[in-house]
């Protein structure tokens, strides 16, 4: 039996409006906010899933690189430059080219970057290290020496070269060479990683 007196009807209207205002509307708003939150979580989860999938694909791709190719890469851009091994290699190269090796030494790390790179891309520029060497050679031997430097297993870029004539048709050559490393050791001797 539903009372249908006027007062009851008015009371029911007031109660209905009260419920709508105090519960239904706020709850609707809360549901809306929760739905938005769910959408955000879904979006983020999809992104993370994509990253995970991409990471898995990249790891699989990286694992496909043969050990020989990895070794070549590590040789081309070694983690750290060996300050003794490089002059020794220069001596080997000089002997191979038949020049009179005068000496070689490590000059230090260079603040050398490429103007082509933006600030964000600077991480892709390896650390440059300078070495000096001098030798005496004939002109043909000098060219042969330069070709051997070019075809080395790791870069030995000629950044400075001074050629002067000496007696007997020989040339006195002083060269400044640059090679690169993936990482660099800081001043305290602690090794610092490029990334992170």
């Amino acid at each position: 039996m539903i009372p249908n007196g006027l007062f009851t009807q008015i009371a029911s209207v007031i109660v209905s409006v009260g419920i709508i205002i105090t519960y239904v509307r706020p709850e609707f708003a809360a549901i809306g906010a929760t739905q938005e939150e769910i959408a955000v979580y879904q979006t983020e989860r999809e992104k993370i899933s994509q990253v995970n999938a991409q990471l898995s694909a990249l790891v699989a791709k990286m694992d496909e690189v043969t050990q020989e190719d990895q070794r070549r890469l590590n040789a081309y851009i070694p983690e750290y430059v060996d300050e003794i091994a490089v002059p020794r290699d220069l001596q080997f190269i000089a002997e191979e080219a038949g020049v009179i090796f005068g000496g070689a030494g490590y000059e230090g790390q260079l603040n050398y970057t490429s103007p082509e790179l933006t600030d964000e891309e600077l991480v892709y520029f390896p650390y440059a290290h300078s070495f000096s060497m001098n030798f005496q050679a004939s002109y043909e031997q000098l060219k042969n020496m330069l070709q051997l430097l070019e075809s080395n297993e790791y870069p030995l870029e000629v950044h400075n070269l001074t050629v002067t004539s000496v007696e007997g048709g020989f040339l006195e050559v002083q060269a400044g060479l640059v090679t690169y490393s993936h990482l660099v050791a800081d001043e305290g001797g602690e090794e610092v990683e490029v990334i992170n």
């Binding site: 709850e27 993370i48 050990q67 851009i77 430059v81 051997l148 870029e157 490029v194 990334i195």
Partner: protein
């Protein structure tokens, strides 16, 4: 008194009881609206309450799923991939900018006339843009100097030519005796050679590289990722490759 004549002009009600008509039920629009509103509100309240719980449960599921997805992510593998990518790009960048210094000498040979001597040559690489050559040139006269300058300017490899420190000298013997006064012209040729003009192109004529030191092993100090790479490379013998 059933036989009492009815003289009154007021009609009297008969004794027979008339059937009483039932009370009319009036339905007001306001009443309908009121109850409609009330029941709608109650139904909506229940629905909102249930849907709210469902949505909350869905949110919790999403949070759990997100945490699981985050848990699957492997930071170590990410670092490994990034490290590998950076090293690859570093190598690629240097390979892209690798040049042949020997080609400069070959180009210089082609751009030098017979009567010209180069007594001293300095070469400097300006970042990854160009080589700047300073050649101390001695010619047997102004004509040769002009001719030489023209050849330098027309050379495909040499992009810029600047003649400096021009001086008229005299040709002497080894003992310092003058052979011909005023017959020698000396100048410094400043030549610009873009790196793009002398790229390093490995080919069959390129000499085999000299066996060199294997890459530095950093097992003791580097990360586990680096260790793996270093270990794998250290296990292989030193070889000879052409980059």
């Amino acid at each position: 008194m059933p036989n009492t004549p009815q003289k009154s002009f007021i009609p009297r009600q008969g004794t027979a009881t008339k059937r009483r008509q039932g009370a009319s039920r009036r339905v007001y629009v306001f009443t309908v609206l009121c109850y409609f509103l009330l029941f709608s509100t109650l139904i909506a309240t229940g629905a909102v309450f249930i849907y709210g719980r469902v949505i909350d449960a869905q949110l919790e599921d999403e949070i759990v799923a997100l945490n699981e997805a985050i848990g699957v992510f492997n930071q170590e593998e990410m670092n490994k991939v990034r490290d590998f990518d950076i090293r690859l790009r570093q190598a690629q960048f240097r390979i892209d900018n690798s040049v042949s210094a020997a080609s400069i000498f070959t180009a210089l040979e082609a751009a030098t006339v017979r009567t010209v001597q180069i007594s001293e040559l300095t070469l400097e690489r300006m970042a990854d843009t160009e080589f700047v050559l300073n050649a101390n040139v001695i010619t047997d006269g102004f004509d040769s100097s002009i001719f030489q300058r023209g050849i330098f300017e027309r050379n495909d490899v040499i992009e810029s030519v600047k003649i400096e420190n021009l001086a008229l000298g005299q040709e002497t013997t080894g003992e310092g005796q003058i052979i011909a006064a005023g017959s020698q012209v000396a100048f410094t040729a400043r030549l610009g050679v873009p790196l793009t003009k002398v790229p390093f192109i490995p080919n069959q004529s390129t000499p085999a590289p000299v066996p060199v030191t294997p890459p530095v092993s950093t097992e003791a100090t580097s990360t586990s990722t680096d260790n793996e790479l270093s270990t794998s490379s250290a296990a292989l013998p030193a070889n000879t490759i052409t980059p």
